[in-house]
């Protein structure tokens, strides 16, 4: 993948966990609230990833809550970073309150992540509506934790069902994958796991965001061992 400078800003103040997932927990000195309140410069709060030198994390504060940062603080912060960074990814907390407003305020592009469940899709619909109301739309959709076997049996909403309701552009379908849990427990992004379908899906999303045409991968149920092998071979070849 092309090297792009990326900063991930954790918008979930008070419930920080991106540092855990990236395995950067022990390196945090300053966080986003320190930057906003002027205790440090933005550079000081940016933690360089140990695997990818072009990836930085600005951690959320764990001891404060969402009201510590305002939407205008977020805009100011992102304006400061905009010239240096190719991408700034802001992880919005769940809900439609302050944390969501903070994450939305500086955004140029909104990616809505939802599970193919009726309640999740309902919430995603609301979020998409709020994004539209803020004139940040149209949002793009990432469908997460899709279980092909359940979908096939008709026990889970299919990608088509969700798209029919939400009527926005689909940018990625991430299959349900155990390796996500394994990877996050190890503090290792799932995108580094070689044979993870979810990891592959995230790679594809990144490529699509960069403007590449990537076909949606086949996430059909593959219960047979031969099928599984074939899939693995295919990924290796990628």
């Amino acid at each position: 993948m092309n090297a792009k400078v990326v900063t991930i800003s954790d918008g979930d103040i008070g419930l920080r966990n991106l540092d855990v997932i990236l395995g950067l927990e022990n390196r945090i000195v300053y966080d986003i609230v320190d930057v906003v309140e002027g205790r440090c410069r933005i550079r000081q709060a940016m933690i360089r990833d140990k695997r990818l030198p072009e990836l930085f994390l600005i951690p959320a504060a764990q001891t404060r809550d969402k009201s510590a940062v305002s939407p205008s603080d977020m805009i100011r912060l992102c304006e400061e970073l905009r010239d240096e960074m190719d991408w700034i990814i802001i992880d919005s907390p769940a809900g439609i309150e302050r944390g969501f407003r903070n994450a939305l305020a500086p955004a140029d592009l909104v990616l809505v992540v939802t599970n193919p469940e009726v309640s999740s899709v309902r919430d995603a619909d609301r979020i998409i509506g709020l994004v539209e109301a803020e004139e940040k739309g149209p949002a793009q959709l990432i469908l997460n934790r899709v279980n092909p076997a359940l979908t096939k049996r008709g026990d889970m909403l299919s990608t088509e069902d969700v798209l029919e309701l939400l009527a926005i552009k689909l940018i990625g379908v991430v299959p349900e994958d155990e390796s996500v849990i394994v990877a996050s427990n190890r503090g290792q992004p799932v995108t580094f796991a070689n044979n993870s379908k979810a990891g592959q899906a995230f790679h594809n999303i990144a490529k699509r965001l960069l403007g590449e045409e990537v076909p949606f991968m086949n996430i059909e149920a593959n219960n047979g061992i031969m099928n599984k092998l074939a899939k693995m071979m295919k990924f290796r070849g990628d």
Binding site: R122, R126, I128, G129, L165
Partner: protein
């Protein structure tokens, strides 16, 4: 005589309104004590004796309650001036009855409105409606006293509240209320009518689970119940 009474008397002549109607003259008496207004009326008539002579008079006495004696005196005095009192108009049923007893009319025929020759109007006046070209998503609400037209879907969790009818050119899966002010003629139409809940003029309906392909449907009140019918170009 008290001074304020003097002012009153000065004002009273203004409260006598004389108007020519097809049947003769119509005099409308304003507020005030009957005897004094009667006096000022007679005064006025005496002033313009020539004008009133031979006139057919209808008198609007407002809310006053007049008895046979009052009306009799009035008629006699007018007759002295060669004026024919033929009608007494009153809001008081007592006065009306008294007048009828004296053989006076209590209604003057309503003057016929001038015949208006209407040019044939080729544009039809419409009704108030709002038009929305977007998807109504969960948590959003569209409210209007008039009709509502949505060019898009209404998703579950979305709400449409209209004083009139609702037309959805798209899929309807939210809550729709039409005729919230009690308009029983309100209808709800959608290309795919599958609302969480539908209310027309307060009557609640929950749409049954539909199988098969969606079809355009129209929901309306028939015999006190909300009924959804498939749109059929032949029977409309």
């Amino acid at each position: 005589m008290k001074p304020n009474l003097g002012i009153k008397q000065l004002k009273q002549p203004e409260t006598i309104l004389i108007k020519g109607i097809r049947e003769g003259l119509l005099i409308t008496l304003g507020e005030g004590d009957w005897l004094s207004i009667f006096a000022s009326l007679m005064e006025k008539i005496t002033e313009k004796e020539k004008f009133f002579e031979g006139a057919k008079l209808a008198l609007d006495v407002g809310n006053r309650i007049l008895h046979a004696a009052d009306l009799g005196t009035l008629r006699d005095r007018l007759a002295d001036k060669n004026i024919i009192l033929w009608a007494i108009l009153s809001n008081s049923p007592v006065t009306e009855l008294t007048a009828q007893d004296l053989g006076l009319a209590t209604r003057i025929s309503v003057p016929k409105p001038e015949r208006i020759i209407k040019s044939i109007e080729s544009s039809i006046p419409g009704e108030d409606a709002i038009f929305l070209r977007k998807t109504v998503r969960s948590g959003f609400k569209v409210v209007s006293n008039g009709h509502i037209i949505i060019f898009g879907d209404v998703n579950p969790g979305g709400e449409i509240i209209a004083g009139g009818s609702v037309i959805i050119w798209g899929r309807c899966q939210g809550v729709v209320q039409a005729g919230v002010d009690g308009d029983q003629n309100a209808t709800v139409c959608a290309l795919d009518l599958n609302p969480t809940q539908l209310r027309i003029a307060g009557i609640i309906a929950i749409s049954p689970k539909r199988k098969g392909k969606p079809q355009p449907e129209v929901a309306k009140i028939i015999a006190g119940q909300v009924v959804a019918e498939t749109w059929n170009p032949k029977s409309r």
